[in-house]
Symmetry: C2
């Protein structure tokens, strides 16, 4: 391996590792009670990860902030998808941070972030990732704040990033069989390479901005809502919305599917599932209820910053 | 359509419809409290179904006994899978009964049955289906009873059916990413056609035996266990095992996948999901506990009748 590839991999993995550290500290500070527990694991084919799980916090009921850096023989489908010849591509390297947090208070939203770097040796490399928010109860002022934060992270790097990646998130975080979005979206991006005038450093700088926006954004959303009073109706609706979250993650989420099919570490991958989830046959929220309002907002194309 | 195809379709659908009726009555009698609620629905492309849901029974917490009979333009993948030319196959017809029952008492097992008939007009037809049992707590005497019942239904028709279909169930009801079976298996079969000396009547008679074995088998399992005392530990384990059931149904179950991808009625398809399910990161049952015993038995190839 030449020096620059090795340097790049170390640089990115090191930064992701420090991001995990930073985010865990910030979340523990806002939660005030919960502490992350770390499991280190090795991947038989090469590399490994640090899975960090928090359960039973004051704000976070169950959540994970996972780091991994793995390498080895690339899955053939990945090489073919990159338009390369499997005979010539001998190795891959992938590193990233994945987060899903399920709060206990239904008025605090679920959040998800993934930032990742992938390369096929010298042949190709790209960044991908995103952040999306799943409020059990849509609050326009929180939705506006969240999307404004996402837009700010994007705008520092390219004026087209936010609108492109916001639409990508609307399309990606969609539960087709329910004809509803998972939540209020956010940003989603993939295959960010040295194209369209962007360098490796440009793309990496953008991914850093996304990663760094996570803690202040979610801490603010926790702060705003963690003391809110809630009742049995809120809890019931939260558990049903978590059921939808489970449906999305097990049926549509590409990272989950890729992870399980490639014999990834199951417990790390499925940390995204909530502690408790409910299903009720043909449940419909009452007309005019806050639950019905939220349901009506789970659609693509909402301009949360200006319309919300 | 010629007379015999039409007659055959009506004959099978009528029998499935009466099976649904029979099973619902039997389950209500054993439950003593719960009643099935019926929703009739139509499929835009042709046909429809009767979805019957029971919730909040004395024994059954949530369950469905669904009948459907649908027809229209066949999915191209199905035609190709049957080795036929999509240009020449203009229609399909499918009818069946699907059942999943989640009991509230953790000592009563979850049960699933599906029996179905499928044809591509005059070109091809087949039966498929199966019954499998998912005890939250494996009890060897119940497992022996269940498999003996399945074997008896098979043995009336062919001496090879049970061993073949038992192995098929072990392979099918398997949660690959957990390296464990969903439960103790049962029987699973598909593409039963007029081959190997069997006629349509032979295959239909077998499917009838399977369908008719359901109510007496599950009533006996309910009767044996419904009054059993249980504690918080049993309930906790039940909810975790239901989480696995959700994982199987959303990731591996072919009927669920086919139904959702072909724009089937989502609420009817997902009636298989429990009212409540839990996930806990890296949960391991205590050494020597009944939960650990059950976990150790969730594997392929157990001879439940003779070894159990």
């Amino acid at each position: 391996m030449n020096q620059s590839l090795s340097t790049r991999r170390n640089q990115v993995a090191e930064w992701f590792r420090s991001l995990q550290e930073h985010i865990c500290k910030e979340l523990e500070a806002e939660d005030t009670v919960g502490k992350f527990h770390e499991d280190r694991w090795e991947r038989p084919g090469g590399g490994g990860g640090h899975t960090r799980i928090l359960k039973g916090g004051k704000v976070i009921e169950k959540g994970g902030v996972n780091f991994s850096a793995v390498y080895g023989t690339p899955p053939e489908s990945t090489v073919l998808h990159a338009g390369l010849d499997p005979a010539t591509v001998k190795e891959f390297f992938a590193t990233g941070v994945s987060i899903v947090l399920h709060p206990s208070n239904p008025l605090v939203p679920i959040i998800h972030m993934n930032v990742r770097y992938f390369d096929l040796g010298e042949s190709d490399w790209w960044f991908g990732g995103g952040i999306d928010l799943t409020p059990h109860y849509v609050k326009p002022e929180d939705a506006r704040f969240f999307h404004t934060q996402m837009k700010a992270a994007c705008d520092r790097h390219d004026p087209m990033y936010y609108s492109t990646f916001k639409q990508w998130a609307d399309d990606y975080f969609f539960i087709t069989h329910r004809n509803e979005t998972r939540g209020i979206g956010g940003i989603f991006f993939d295959y960010l390479k040295a194209t369209d005038g962007f360098s490796f450093d440009d793309r990496f700088a953008f991914v850093k901005s996304v990663g760094e926006s996570f803690a202040p954004t979610y801490r603010e959303l926790m702060r705003r809502n963690k003391e809110a009073n809630y009742h049995d109706d809120h809890k019931k609706w939260q558990l049903l919305r978590r059921g939808r979250y489970v449906e999305f993650n097990l049926i549509y989420d590409r990272g989950t599917k890729f992870g399980l099919e490639s014999n990834g570490r199951t417990e790390s991958i499925l940390m995204s599932l909530p502690a408790h989830a409910d299903w009720e046959y043909d449940y419909r929220p009452a007309a005019g209820s806050p639950e019905e309002y939220t349901w009506s907002m789970l659609r693509k194309g909402v301009d949360w910053i200006n319309e919300g």
